[in-house]
């Protein structure tokens, strides 16, 4: 029986889910800004208590490793590192963009092509494109990227789904495309982990290998080390 703890803290939302082989068991989330450090672990504790599970009964912990808010990503990654290390559990490190694409597939399975765009702040988006086929599964067809919205190539066609808060940015909203400006959540993290496990694609890792993926790596200006 595969029991999973799943969590996501990569955006302004913060959510936790417990998942068993046949589906979601319990779920909680909050949208309160800057509350992730205060809310995440009490949510984990309370859901485990509700389900009557202990961490040691889990097959592992799944979480989004980014992209997303730098701080948000680190809240989740640091927590999962600690939980998994202490409980001696393996970790499933998932792309936030992949999780959002799977979130879209769950709501609109008829869409065979997906464009995911998250709000990366500073007028940019984190994005990736996907193909979806019930037989072969969901596959990313581009690298995960940090882009100015006007650099995004819009896919055309009736079977294109678009998901993510990046689509609410003015430049993309102006395209008039039909979109779901959803934030990622832990239910989808668990569901995507479950999908990967079912297709034998789950790449379990030891907790120290769980590391954030930021995509935006230019975060400081180099200056002369001395003088001036």
């Amino acid at each position: 029986m595969t029991r999973l703890l799943a969590l996501d803290t990569t955006t302004e939302a913060c959510s936790v889910a417990l998942w068993e082989a046949d589906g979601l068991v319990v779920y909680d989330h909050t949208l309160e800004p800057r509350s992730h450090t205060r809310r995440l672990l009490p949510m984990v504790e309370s859901l485990l208590a509700q389900a009557g599970w202990s961490l040691t009964q889990l097959a592992g912990i799944a979480c989004t490793r980014g992209p997303g808010s730098f701080t948000g990503v680190r809240v989740g990654v640091s927590a999962v590192q600690g939980l998994a290390y202490a409980a001696e559990l393996p970790v499933l490190s998932l792309s936030t963009l992949d999780v959002l694409a799977w979130q879209g597939v769950q709501t609109q399975p008829e869409c065979r092509h997906w464009q995911v765009a998250m709000d990366a702040r500073m007028g940019e988006i984190y994005c990736a494109d996907y193909d979806w086929d019930p037989a072969t599964g969901l596959h990313r067809t581009t690298p995960e990227q940090l882009l100015k919205p006007d650099r995004l190539t819009l896919l055309a066609g009736p079977d294109v789904g678009r998901i993510g808060a990046g689509w609410a940015l003015p430049e993309l909203a102006a395209t008039g495309a039909s979109v779901d400006a959803a934030l990622p959540h832990a239910r989808s993290v668990a569901a995507w982990a479950h999908e990967l496990l079912g297709r034998d694609l789950a790449d379990w890792q030891p907790p120290h290998q769980l590391q954030p993926v930021y995509l935006r790596d230019q975060v400081a200006d180099r200056r002369p080390a001395a003088g001036g």
Partner: protein, 347 residues
């Protein structure tokens, strides 16, 4: 009780295990100094990113060196402030999560209380009550310490911290970041009294400090020298600067001992490693029939051992925090309470 301590408030990832019966079992530190050197100062985002990379391997290392398995930890202590929020968050979230999964108590530690108690890790620890001089790149404070958590501020810097003044003066002299320790080494080659800078605020009553005026005086003196500065000029200026800082610290420490009637002075923080400062304070304390206690040189700068120790004292007294992690960029030491009288966190 074996306590895992985690420090990540700035640019050092420190982890240690302290046993309340056997003392410090192991400690490990990863310093990010090289990472930040090319930026001329700590870049908070890069610091946070590095803490996430370093933390678990360091936990693994200290448990292995202590000969412990993961189940042998009885409590977890982690720094929750003051410091860089993003950096604090990494150690605090990981630390609190470890405690949750192990089912052991956790305690939130004030970074400066960690520094203040670092001399307690020594074979001959000081006893309460005492006067503490906390002197680092971020703080210059004189504290009256009656007991764990009973702190009264006697004086502090009105502008730059002493360590900050060391770093800024080092930069002025063209020394690579972080220049404070380098400046102290350079001062050893200096000719005494070629440059005499007034020790700031010693002619005024009270126990406050000010170091920004001294920095300006040094800049003016340097501007009058031929460029590029010769090695001897730089050494002489460095010595003049250091002498003035040490004098100011010495005078205010003596006043603090006299004002409180305490005989014990505890000096902690990065600048407490400074040899000239130690010599001057030892001389002063001898005249006052007192004694000065310093941390081991390894525990003057940020480290996990002091956090493990401070956390262990509070855990022993029954203090613990729930799993909601609260962090404090600013957090006056005097807001702390003795164990049991607060949740270990600022209001």
């Amino acid at each position: 009780m074996r306590v895992l301590g985690i420090e990540s408030s700035c640019d050092e990832t420190g982890v240690a295990v302290y046993d309340t019966e056997r003392g410090l079992l192991s400690h490990a530190l990863f310093s990010q100094v090289k990472l930040h050197a090319e930026y001329g100062g700590v870049v908070p985002e890069l610091a946070s990113r590095d803490h996430v990379r370093r933390l678990l391997p360091l936990v693994d290392q200290v448990l292995a060196e202590a000969g412990l398995s993961r189940q042998d930890v009885d409590g977890v202590a982690y720094t929750t402030g003051p410091g860089l929020l993003g950096a604090l968050m990494v150690g605090a979230m990981a630390g609190r999560s470890l405690a949750l999964a192990w089912g052991v108590p956790a305690v939130a530690v004030h970074h400066m209380e960690g520094h203040l108690l670092a001399p307690m890790l020594e074979a001959e620890p000081p006893a309460f009550p005492f006067v503490a001089l906390l002197v680092s790149g971020g703080h210059t404070q004189l504290i009256k310490v009656e007991a764990l958590g009973r702190y009264e501020l006697l004086g502090e810097s009105l502008d730059d911290a002493a360590g900050e003044a060391f770093d800024k003066t080092a930069k002025l002299l063209g020394l690579p970041y972080p220049g404070g320790p380098e400046l102290a080494r350079l001062a050893e080659q200096g000719v005494p009294e070629r440059f005499v800078f007034t020790a700031p605020m010693i002619d005024r009553p009270g126990m406050d400090f000010s170091f920004s005026g001294l920095k300006t005086a040094v800049r003016q003196a340097v501007a009058r020298l031929p460029t590029p500065l010769s090695e001897q000029d730089r050494a002489d200026v460095a010595l003049g600067f250091q002498t003035a800082v040490v004098r100011a610290l010495e005078v205010k420490c003596r006043r603090a001992l006299q004002a409180t009637g305490h005989r014990t002075l505890v000096v902690a923080g990065g600048v407490s490693a400074n040899t000239a400062l130690r010599a001057a304070l030892d001389r002063m304390a001898a005249k006052e029939r007192g004694r000065v206690y310093y941390p081991d040189l390894r525990f003057c700068t940020d480290n996990g051992a002091m956090i493990a120790y401070a956390g262990a004292q509070r855990l022993l007294a029954g203090e613990q925090v729930d799993s909601a992690v609260t962090l404090h960029a600013r957090w006056p030491l005097t807001d702390l309470q003795p164990p049991g009288q607060s949740a270990g966190q600022a209001a």
